[in-house]
């Protein structure tokens, strides 16, 4: 009997100690929403994993906040994303890191605007994501911002005047960048000699590349993700066509595609806020953790998401969010806090205005001998 009482006492003591520890850290419930299955899964899995690395770090460090990450799949689908969003709130999420892709983010963000739920999207870069919605903020650049910056870089550094553009006309990201690039390019005296499109299902780029070659373009601008870009580089090599290929942040990742012949990407230039081979200790640390845990090199999406978690924690700290704060209360507090914080992340030093767009500086990189070189 005595033994039993002793045991019970020990148990009670142990429980109190535990709960005492637990009280120190405030548990934040953050939901990540992104495509974990389907054709866009690679981006959603990257943002999910990037967020996971940041959460592990924060929880291990044992600061003011403990984070519970809820992971919901939206299948890159405008209908499913609302389900994912509702499921996240049902699961008790207080704020959302997501969604990964633009169109679903537009739909979920609008729903969140009505319901008053805070969104920080790591990678949904179209302007429609933040337009007319005070509750949505971005970690990545907006598409027009990138298009204009690319045109400016090409013009200022006099890389050439005859430009060909190949873009995905079924994709918001690609058309968004292309629109402003063409507009800004015209202002700066760039001559667009060929403009060709493709869609998500396209595998054959011989026509698009052939037309650029025929038009004598010195620069081929590729506002797209690295998957189609790698096919374009291969086609150009087959055609013995060697212009300057100029990419955007979606191009990052091309060097870590398994089996990719990096010599094809020799001389490719891109504007990007993050490269995995950077020597910055913060970046190197993240890349190492990611590689150890998931066995692959992180792409920019993962980096944006990793930063996103730290941004949310910084904003939550500023806003004084606790475990009891409801999503509606958290939304107003976080909106106010976002404008006041400044976060130094692995994708640069970031601040926000009320539009929800981020201010940070992209870097121009050139691929030389299979690695990025900054100019």
């Amino acid at each position: 009997m005595k033994k039993l009482i002793a045991l019970a006492l020990a148990l009670v003591l142990a429980l109190t100690v535990c709960s005492a520890f637990a009280e120190e850290a405030i548990t934040l419930k953050i939901a990540h929403i992104g495509p974990l299955t389907g054709p866009a899964a690679l981006y959603g899995i990257a943002t999910s994993r990037g967020a996971q690395i940041a959460v592990d770090e924060i929880n291990a460090a044992g600061g003011k906040y403990r984070i519970e990450l809820i992971d919901e799949d939206d299948e890159h689908n405008v209908e499913k994303v609302i389900n994912a969003y509702n499921a996240a709130l049902d699961a008790g999420a207080q704020m959302i890191i997501g969604t990964t892709t633009s169109k679903p983010c537009e739909a979920a963000g609008a729903q969140g605007y009505t319901d008053r739920v805070f969104f920080l999207t790591p990678s949904a870069s179209s302007t429609a994501v933040i337009e007319d919605k005070d509750n949505v903020f971005q970690v990545c650049f907006t598409d027009p911002n990138q298009g204009a910056a690319s045109a400016q870089y090409i013009a200022e550094n006099k890389l050439g005047t005859k430009v060909a553009v190949i873009y995905n006309n079924a994709d918001v990201y690609s058309t968004g960048i292309r629109d402003t690039f063409v507009e800004k390019g015209a202002e700066l005296g760039l001559e667009i000699v060929s403009e060709e499109t493709f869609t998500d299902e396209t595998t054959d780029f011989t026509v698009q590349v052939g037309k650029a070659q025929e038009a004598g373009a010195e620069i081929v601008f590729l506002p797209m993700y690295y998957t189609p870009a790698s096919l374009i580089l291969k086609t150009a090599a087959d055609k013995n066509y060697k212009p300057i290929f100029f990419g955007v942040d979606g191009m990052d990742g091309i060097l870590s595609v398994e089996g990719f012949d990096t010599s094809l990407a020799e001389g490719v230039m891109l504007l990007t806020p993050f490269v995995a081979t950077s020597e910055d200790p913060k970046v190197a640390n993240f890349v190492k953790l990611y590689q150890d845990k998931f066995g692959e090199t992180p792409i920019q999406f993962a980096a944006d998401s990793y930063d996103g978690i730290y941004i949310l924690v910084a904003a939550a700290e500023k806003a004084g969010i606790t475990a009891e704060t409801t999503p509606e209360e958290a939304c107003e507090l976080l909106i106010a806090a976002m404008k006041e914080i400044k976060v130094d992340g692995i994708t640069g030093s970031m601040t926000w205005d009320e539009s929800g767009a981020v201010t940070k500086t992209p870097m121009a990189a050139t691929i030389e001998n299979g690695v990025y070189v900054f100019k």
Partner: protein, 292 residues
């Protein structure tokens, strides 16, 4: 020059469609079913070849043979497990099962190889390009077209000369009569799936050699296009699949090159519709169709 360039690219793309379409058309001729999972067998074949080259360090030819053997086994297994129990069922039930199989293969591939795209390694197929004056022809295009011709001739000889090939034609003509004549129908259907899947592996390797990106969804769109090509040429007919595939590829490239890249796919499908309206059984299909 540009015209020639486009023509060769079109022929090469069309040859890939044709090889895939052969798999659709043979299975349709014998088993009277649209095997929607065929496009995903292509993807599996390409992944196995990728693994052979990248992870197991096999020489290219050996890696391709392994991929073909694997797909052959896969095809027979799929047929035996999922389609054979439905031999008596409605064609729609089989269609839905095939769609289920397609989802299954894609998701298994997603679990095994992950969502990140892989780049198909450079081999003797896609290593270099030949220069003829201003014209640059990639070796992949030449090998693809040649492979197509060889397969076409081989299959025609097989179905017209060998006993097994004749059995296949017999089953497609009249399954009941074939059974009465002592032909093992189940084994013949398995054989068809085996050949179709081996062709799928070849198609996968050629597809990824020309367009070296490999994802779990790699097979879907070429699968649909090839299916269209099979119908275009008259489903059930081997020369029809060949013709349909090549025409589809050439139309796709020319449509993009001379009309608009924006409307490339719409043009392909519009031509298909027009052809079917004029010839409702496809280019080489006859109302009393000769099957395989």
């Amino acid at each position: 020059m540009i015209f020639l360039d486009n023509l060769i690219n079109g022929l090469s793309l069309g040859s890939i469609y044709a090889i895939i379409a052969l798999g659709y058309t043979m299975v349709y001729g014998i088993a009277r079913m649209l095997n929607f999972a065929h496009g995903d067998v292509i993807m599996v074949g390409a992944y196995i070849a990728f693994c052979g080259l990248q992870y197991w360090g096999l020489p290219p030819v050996l890696a391709f043979v392994v991929a073909m053997l694997f797909c052959t086994c896969l095809g027979i297994t799929i047929e035996g497990l999922a389609y054979r129990p439905l031999r008596q069922a409605t064609s729609l039930a089989v269609l839905i099962t095939a769609i289920g199989m397609s989802y299954l293969l894609q998701n298994i591939a997603l679990m095994i190889w992950g969502a990140n795209p892989k780049s198909f390694p450079t081999t003797f197929i896609n290593g270099s390009s030949i220069r003829l004056g201003q014209l640059n022809i990639s070796t992949a295009a030449i090998i693809t077209i040649l492979a197509n011709v060889v397969i076409m001739v081989g299959l025609t000889l097989f179905t017209s000369r060998t006993k097994l090939g004749k059995a296949m034609r017999c089953v497609s003509e009249d399954r009941g009569a074939a059974e009465l004549m002592g032909i093992n129908v189940n084994r013949t259907i398995s054989l068809t799936f085996a050949i179709g899947s081996a062709l799928a592996a070849i198609a996968g390797i050629l597809l990824c050699s020309s367009y070296p990106i490999l994802q779990p969804t790699t097979g879907s769109m070429p699968g649909i296009k090839a299916f269209t090509a099979a119908v275009f040429g008259g489903i059930g007919s081997i020369p029809g699949a060949m013709l349909g595939g090549i025409l589809l590829g050439v139309i796709e490239i020319f449509g993009k090159a001379y009309i608009s890249t924006e409307l490339g796919d719409a043009i392909v499908f519009a031509v298909l519709i027009i052809v079917l309206l004029v010839k409702p059984a496809g280019l080489l299909g006859k109302p009393m169709r000769e099957k395989v």
